[in-house]
């Protein structure tokens, strides 16, 4: 018996020690700082010149990098257009409607502050002109290169007041200095547009904001400035200026072993590219249970437990229906929330912001289907401006975390489509200038070449953004109970059986009922036995 208990105890302690942790330690070479360039651009005589405009700098760049502009002109960063390979539908910023500023069409002068080019002010823009490519927006290492709304993508050439009427002034960019200090893109370069999508820090994505310039480990385990210190292009591997990892070519369910650095196939901007699809080291006690979750869940679902995890926050709601409402004195007003973020703007309507948000979860196969300009809508329910495709039984679909941004947008109640509104500009029809919806809509619809009934109303809209940045340290990943429990985050997800949450009510009723009956039965039996102790036993048989 002693031997037996010893063996049992040994078995138990072995399994216990093996179950201590399921860890993954990255052994990546990316811990090293990015390699220094072999060329000191400040010594090049081509860059000693005085540059008056951006295109002049580009010409100097192209003198050596003679294919660079051609490469850029084949990218989304230049065309703002993507053609869906299956449907032929034209997508990209040029064609889709978003849930924020709604459309770039007729508003190019403002929007193109984030175009990797110079001079896209309207549809007459020449997409073949090489010197219109903006090299510096991605390659500036000084942090001084700035493009403002209203300049159609040109940097600041003259000292001016910005925002107009604010009393704040911005200085022109020293183009020579910037040109002499070009470098590989850093987080700040990509962030100069992607952190500020939809016109403000953190507004659009929820997992991309200025806190990622210098993030802590808590915010992003890979970009952690004091740790791995990844830049965007560590994952978004770039070749011939084509940046990997776009929402339009989303890899929602990569499988297989990790790929060695430099030998990526498919999409390198996915967790599995480096970690493989079975990254958890598990003891016998877990029997690969954690790893089998990857057949159902995206890595991000557990490893990004909350998004907007800094005080920057993100915008949750943009309601255009209150735009053009004026202050008590009839003048446009701007109201901030308690955290200093925009809450109301006469130009734009109402906003709601928050930080540390729980994502909404959806089945997603990587394909977002979009409402593009002119598409019919059903105003009786919230219009999904984009819709994550995917269903439980699809091999390529996983449950993904999303930021869902909700709002209200102008639509045509007769022709049943969303309206293109001319918002930005100094002309008398621009909404932000003249606060007149019909005039702004008329110009917008004319620019895009679509009919308008002359009526407008507002419809509820929502837009889904897959959450994939700001991966938390493993200690902050979701715990089992956050899904396997009564308050499961995945309560509303169809097609899965979650132990701890799902049960069969009939089985539970029958099981507990039978157990209760058994208990009552034995109690009654026992009580009767206890109540007749005095009765003499009958004569023995």
């Amino acid at each position: 018996m002693k031997l037996l208990s010893f063996i049992l105890a040994l078995g138990a302690s072995l399994s216990l020690s093996a179950w201590a942790s399921e860890s993954f330690t990255p052994t990546l070479t990316d811990k090293l700082p990015p390699p220094k360039s072999t060329a000191d651009h400040s010594k090049f005589k081509e860059l000693q010149a005085v540059f008056k405009t951006g295109p002049e700098v580009t010409k100097a760049c192209l003198a050596c990098h003679n294919d660079a502009a051609k490469q850029v002109q084949h990218t989304k960063h230049w065309t703002w257009e993507v053609v869906d390979a299956k449907t032929g539908q034209k997508l990209g910023k040029k064609n889709i409607i978003n849930n924020f500023c709604t459309s770039t069409v007729s508003n190019e002068k403002d929007c193109m502050a984030c175009h990797a080019g110079y001079g896209w002010a309207d549809k007459s823009f020449d997409f073949t002109k090489e010197e219109s490519v903006d090299c510096l927006i991605c390659h500036d290492s000084t942090g001084t290169y700035r493009k403002l709304p209203g300049d159609a993508g040109h940097p600041i050439y003259e000292r001016k007041e910005f925002p107009a009427g604010s009393g704040k002034f911005v200085d022109p960019v020293d183009l020579q200095k910037v040109a002499q200090k070009v470098a590989m893109p850093s987080r700040a370069n990509c962030g100069s547009c992607h952190f500020f999508g939809a016109g403000g820090d953190g507004t659009k994505h929820g997992d991309l904001d200025s806190a990622l310039r210098n993030p802590s480990k808590h915010l992003d385990v890979h970009m952690d400035a004091k740790g791995l210190n990844f830049s965007c292009v560590n994952c978004h591997k770039t070749s011939q200026h084509q940046v990997a990892g776009s929402r339009y070519e989303f890899d929602a369910s990569r499988t297989g072993k990790p790929q060695p650095q430099g030998k990526f196939d498919g999409n390198p901007a996915s967790c599995q590219a480096c970690h493989g699809d079975k990254p958890h080291k598990e003891s016998l006690l877990h029997a690969e249970r954690l790893n089998t979750h990857t057949d159902t869940l995206a890595c991000q679902t557990c490893h990004i437990p909350e998004y907007a995890r800094s005080n920057v926050g993100t915008e949750k709601v943009w309601d255009w229906s209150t735009a053009t409402k004026m202050g008590p004195d009839g003048k446009p007003i701007f109201v901030k929330d308690s955290a200093g973020r925009r809450a109301f703007d006469s130009k734009k309507g109402n906003f709601a912001w928050d930080s540390y948000l729980m994502p909404e979860y959806r089945w997603f196969n990587g394909k977002l289907s979009y409402k593009v300009i002119g598409d019919k809508i059903d105003p009786s329910k919230a219009v999904e401006i984009n819709h994550p495709e995917g269903s439980p039984n699809e091999p390529g679909a996983r449950i993904w975390p999303f930021k869902v941004h909700r709002g209200k947008q102008a639509y045509d109640p007769e022709l049943k489509n969303l309206l293109i509104v001319h918002t930005a500009g100094e002309d008398h029809t621009a909404l932000w200038h003249n606060f007149d919806w019909p005039k702004a809509i008329e110009t917008g619809m004319q620019t895009v070449g679509l009919p308008w009934s002359g009526k407008h109303d507002f419809v509820a809209t929502e837009m889904s953004w897959p959450i994939t940045h700001t991966v938390a340290p493993k200690g902050d990943a979701l715990s089992c109970t956050q899904c396997h429990g009564a308050n499961s985050r995945l309560k509303d997800i169809p097609g899965i059986y979650l132990p701890g949450l799902h049960k069969n009510e009939w089985l539970d009723l029958a099981g507990w009922g039978a157990a209760l009956l058994a208990l009552i039965g034995v109690l009654i039996h026992g009580i009767i036995r206890a109540c007749v102790p005095c009765r003499k036993p009958r004569s023995k048989q």
């Binding site: 018996m1 037996l4 063996i7 049992l8 078995g11 138990a12 399994s15 216990l16 179950w19 016998l284 006690l285 877990h286 029997a287 690969e288 249970r289 790893n291 089998t292 057949d295 715990s479 089992c480 109970t481 396997h484 429990g485 009564a486 059986y497 132990p499 701890g500 949450l501 799902h502 049960k503 069969n504 089985l507 539970d508 029958a510 099981g511 507990w512 039978a514 157990a515 058994a518 208990l519 034995v522 039996h525 026992g526 009767i528 036995r529 007749v532 009765r535 003499k536 036993p537 009958r538 023995k540 048989q541």
Partner: protein
């Protein structure tokens, strides 16, 4: 030669290994019920993750115990205790439903070669041949869910089906447990049977 201990008026019913097996199995099963129904979502005690780990660890421990016990059953011939008999089944039913209240004598006399009364034999056989396969079959499939795809099992089974089968087995075990614990009190004193199961000694009829 090993001599069997003797004690006047008593029979040595349960040997040392038998008692060790019974009580450790009892503890393990109770613990599996506690952790299992937590995993099922009935209450919150250890937390889901820890409950799953403890449930799995206990299952492996119980399987190890069973490996030894099956060996013991066959080398000692004790497995014959589970061969069903219909003799005196009616008398046993009559005793539990009527005789027990009138202090009628127990219709069955325990001996070392026949330790279980006919109803007990049937109950234990049902436990062994019905409840156990349900629980262990579904439990092992549940535990090794991650390997279903490798063997094409996912074509035939759903997690929900396996989980619900396992739950049904657990309810059966719970009901067995309730009845079993109650029936331990039906000896000549409420704790007589439990005492026997601890010491191994059963008082012979007429010596109390």
């Amino acid at each position: 030669m090993i001599t069997t201990p003797t004690r006047p008026g008593h029979i040595y019913l349960y040997k040392r290994y038998e008692r060790f097996w019974h009580w450790s199995q009892a503890a393990l099963i109770v613990f599996m019920l506690i952790t299992g129904f937590e995993i099922h979502g009935a209450y919150d005690n250890f937390g889901f993750k820890r409950a799953v780990e403890l449930h799995t660890l206990t299952a492996w421990t119980l399987l190890t115990l069973w490996a030894f016990t099956i060996f013991w059953q066959f080398t000692t011939g004790e497995w014959r205790q589970y061969i069903p008999t219909y003799k005196k089944v009616g008398a046993m039913v009559h005793y539990y439903s009527i005789g027990i209240f009138t202090h009628a004598p127990h219709p069955f006399q325990k001996t070392t070669s026949s330790k279980h009364n006919p109803l007990q034999r049937l109950a234990y056989l049902a436990l062994l041949s019905l409840v156990s396969p349900i629980i262990w079959g579904s439990g092992l499939f549940y535990l090794f869910f991650a390997y279903w795809k490798d063997f094409g099992i996912d074509q035939w089974l759903t997690l929900e089906g396996v989980a619900l089968t396992h739950t049904a087995g657990a309810f059966m075990m719970l009901i067995f447990f309730i009845a079993h614990v109650y029936l331990t009190t039906t000896g000549h004193t409420p704790f007589a049977h439990i005492k026997t199961m601890i010491t191994g000694w059963e008082e012979e009829e007429g010596h109390h």
